[in-house]
């Protein structure tokens, strides 16, 4: 039986336009700008200075806190500058700018295609290696992987769940790597199972990726304890809490962490990065990124170095596909971020560069709420978005918002997607959730 989560969900159009396009290496660019804030938590501290020579895979940023991570150079060349630059939302973030000269890799990296199956090391050694490789959750949340693989002492992991659901429309990066590198992903999963000391791993893939399911099933066949699950197609299947619910029927209690259900969820791309880091000594400095859109003819699945300017990628697929106003999105159409600044560069979490035309994306005028309840029906967290919207618009009703569990919102966008009156539910809920979280944290701090 195909599994899925129990509450809510929507069915946006699939639009996996680039699923049959093989991964292609993105050609080198003359200059990369590597952000120091590619992970959740504190931005890394740059440890190179203007004029320094760097090689591919060299550490250029060190973690600046517990929840932080290493950043490596994705190219070889000379550091042109270390300065704050605008990220894709226009906010200033420290970047290391490197002028590319040749392609000289750190000699420790195993660049052969040979698949290394045997691995050794204690969980601590493995986690240290993963941390040193700067691996973060590559589904988009960019939570440092080594933190997730080392749960607090009082909590015991029981299952590892590899998230290959890829429930966002358009994005095909995970689909492609599952088809092209299934064995490596499974080895990555084995390594994480060892790091967590768990016996069971589920690989969850939505039913709309039959080729990936076949490839992963074949690759997982030779290992005990790894099971590939075919999931029903429903958004947001790839949400951490939804995926745990779908597979184990355990619901992460409100306010708790996924580890409280004994589950650790990792993206398949993260598993691949773990394989490369542990078996090939290759830190995370490149990733697969889908470049797609209904309006785009030349769709791609690029393996792209971190720090590549988005406008270079845009130019490589032929520039702006249509005249007029466009929306470029980093990530999928449901949870991705709109790009304000095309000079911004790719990051560890950039799974997709999506192009939408005005007709596809412009919001229609908001009309009155007709109390149809479709938002509440669609909400995978069992909230009532219409009520939260109403309370929020009254203003200063944070107590009521908290009582109506606004803090549970995962910002998946189902409510706004479904609303027949085009009410910007999530826009309003998101900022008010932030306020409520602030109030909750202030109270806990007391």
């Amino acid at each position: 039986m195909k599994k899925t989560f129990k509450i809510g969900g929507t069915h946006p159009k699939d639009s996996k336009l680039s699923s049959e396009i093989a991964i292609e290496s993105f050609p080198p660019v003359p200059r990369v700008c590597i952000s120091m804030a590619q992970h959740l938590g504190a931005p890394a501290t740059p440890i190179v200075a203007k004029g320094d020579k760097v090689v591919v895979g060299q550490v250029i940023g060190e973690p600046a806190g517990f929840i932080s991570g290493f950043v490596h150079s994705s190219v070889s060349g000379t550091v042109a500058d270390v300065l704050p630059m605008a990220d894709l939302a226009g906010n200033m973030v420290p970047h290391v700018v490197i002028d590319v000269e040749g392609d000289e890799w750190d000699p420790a990296i195993d660049r052969t295609d040979k698949i290394v199956t045997e691995s050794s090391g204690t969980p601590e050694q493995l986690i240290a290696k993963i941390k040193a490789a700067g691996i973060v959750g590559m589904g988009g949340a960019t939570f440092p992987t080594h933190v997730k693989l080392a749960p607090p002492k009082d909590k015991k992991a029981e299952y590892l769940i590899l998230n290959g659901a890829e429930c966002e429309p358009f994005v095909t990066a995970d689909d492609r790597i599952m088809r092209e590198k299934p064995v490596q992903i499974v080895i990555g999963a084995r390594i994480m199972m060892r790091a967590l000391s768990v016996e069971k791993c589920f690989i969850a893939i939505e039913e709309n990726k039959p080729a990936a399911i076949a490839a992963m099933t074949k690759a997982a066949g030779s290992y005990v304890g790894i099971e590939v699950l075919k999931m029903k197609k429903k958004y947001p299947q790839g949400g951490e809490k939804q995926l745990i619910d779908a597979i184990t029927s355990r619901q992460v209690p409100s306010g708790a962490l996924p580890i409280d259900t004994g589950c650790v969820v990792q993206n398949v791309a993260t598993a691949l990065a773990v394989y490369e880091a542990v078996q090939k000594n290759k830190p995370l400095f490149e990733r697969v990124m889908t470049v797609t859109g209904n309006c785009l003819q030349n769709r791609k699945n690029y393996k792209v170095r971190i720090g590549t300017p988005l406008k270079d990628i845009l130019a490589a697929v032929g520039g702006a596909p249509v005249e007029g106003n466009m929306k470029y999105i980093s990530g999928g159409p449901m949870m991705g971020k709109a790009i304000v600044n095309l000079d911004a560069t790719t990051q560890k979490g950039s799974s997709c560069l999506l192009m939408l035309t005005e007709e596809e994306t412009l919001r229609k005028p908001e009309s009155n709420c007709i109390r149809c309840g479709k938002c509440a029906e669609a909400c995978p967290m069992g909230l009532e978005p219409w009520l939260l919207n109403k309370l929020a618009r009254v203003g200063d009703r944070y107590d009521d918002l908290e009582q109506n569990n606004i803090a549970d919102c995962i910002e998946c966008g189902c409510c706004l997607y479904t609303c027949p009156a085009n009410i910007p539910l999530l826009d309003i809920i998101r900022v008010n959730k932030a306020e409520v979280m602030k109030i909750i944290r202030a109270r806990q701090a007391k």
Partner: protein, 327 residues
């Protein structure tokens, strides 16, 4: 110069829109309208047209000129009210009744509460009940369904419910009246049930119900909850005393029960949003409707039942859905 468009996520919107939903409801009402035109003839078409035009026009004028609102005008929503109002009128009603009904429905029941989505009571039902208490003779003068090209004959009809109501009051057993008038389920299901325009063909209403379900416009909870409540309640009463109380099939298929439970009780604005609330809502309607039918002086109680339960909707909306991880 072309610019980048920026907005918070999500960047796509689903196909649903208010006007699409209302258009779907209109399509679902089409079989009932066609059936009533077929059975009652062209005067019904006039009533439908007047009522729809009246509702749309009143809503537009009030929204733009009285409220001076910049809100989006949703004509299809007003049209739904218009059709429902017309379907609730007796076939021989004069056209101006529809105008008054439309005015009360839109101006008083809908726009005075703030317009689309703000009203407490179902506008079409308010219009109907207003007409019923203001023009009791016109609103209870029934005609037998004659056919498309026959003149409406204003002397021959009575609704099955009123026949039972009168008959039981006069001392005849209900089951015998039903048998004498040949009110078999098959007969009532397929056609020619006397009463309001929309009640003429149960099958046409059921087709509309299935359409609404298939298009996912409504969820079945309210309607089914009403049906189950009515069936169980009338079943019990009928078992106790078949001479006094009519049975489940009769009660489900006659009067405004189908029209009300499928199209009026499920109105988004005036019904609860959560499944729990919807089931309680339907239960309440069923109980009140049957109580009025059995013990009230009116032969029909669905309109009143829905209006009464409309008052409870805000309370029922306090029932929360079960949150994720909050068992």
């Amino acid at each position: 110069m072309s610019q980048l468009i920026v907005s918070p996520s999500p960047h796509l919107h689903g196909p649903e829109s208010t006007s699409r939903i209302m258009t779907d409801v209109l399509i679902a009402l089409a079989p009932a309208c066609l059936a009533s035109i077929y059975f009652y003839g062209l005067p019904v078409l006039l009533l439908l047209a007047v009522s729809v035009l009246g509702c749309v026009l009143f809503e537009f004028l009030i929204l733009k000129y009285l409220m001076k609102s910049k809100a989006v005008f949703c004509g299809s929503s007003a049209a739904v009210t218009g059709v429902l109002l017309a379907l609730n009128l007796p076939p021989a009603a004069p056209w101006w009744i529809a105008v008054i009904g439309a005015f009360v429905a839109i101006a008083i029941a809908k726009m005075s509460f703030g317009g689309l989505g703000q009203n407490i009571f179902n506008p079409a039902l308010v219009g109907r009940v207003f007409l019923l208490v203001s023009f009791p003779v016109i609103m209870t003068t029934w005609t037998a369904p004659a056919g498309l090209f026959h003149n409406v004959d204003a002397f021959s009809g009575a609704t099955p419910l009123s026949i039972i109501n009168e008959g039981v009051k006069a001392g005849f057993p209900a089951n015998e009246i039903i048998a004498a008038h040949d009110f078999t389920p098959a007969q009532m299901l397929f056609a020619r049930t006397g009463g309001s325009i929309g009640e003429v063909s149960a099958i046409a209403l059921l087709i509309g119900f299935i359409y609404l379900l298939v298009r996912k416009v409504i969820r079945p909870h309210i309607t089914l909850s009403i049906w189950v409540t009515v069936a169980v309640m009338t079943g019990i009463f009928c078992l106790i005393n078949p001479a006094q109380y009519s049975g489940p099939a009769f009660n489900l298929l006659t009067g405004g029960m189908l029209l009300g439970s499928i199209f009026m009780a499920t109105d988004y604005v005036t019904s609860p949003m959560t499944v729990k609330g919807q089931i309680i809502f339907g239960f309440g309607i069923g109980v009140i409707a049957i109580l009025i039918r059995y013990f009230g002086s009116y032969p029909e109680g669905v309109s009143f039942a829905i209006l009464i339960m409309n008052c409870v909707t805000p309370l029922l909306n306090k029932l929360k859905p079960v949150g994720f991880g909050r068992k």
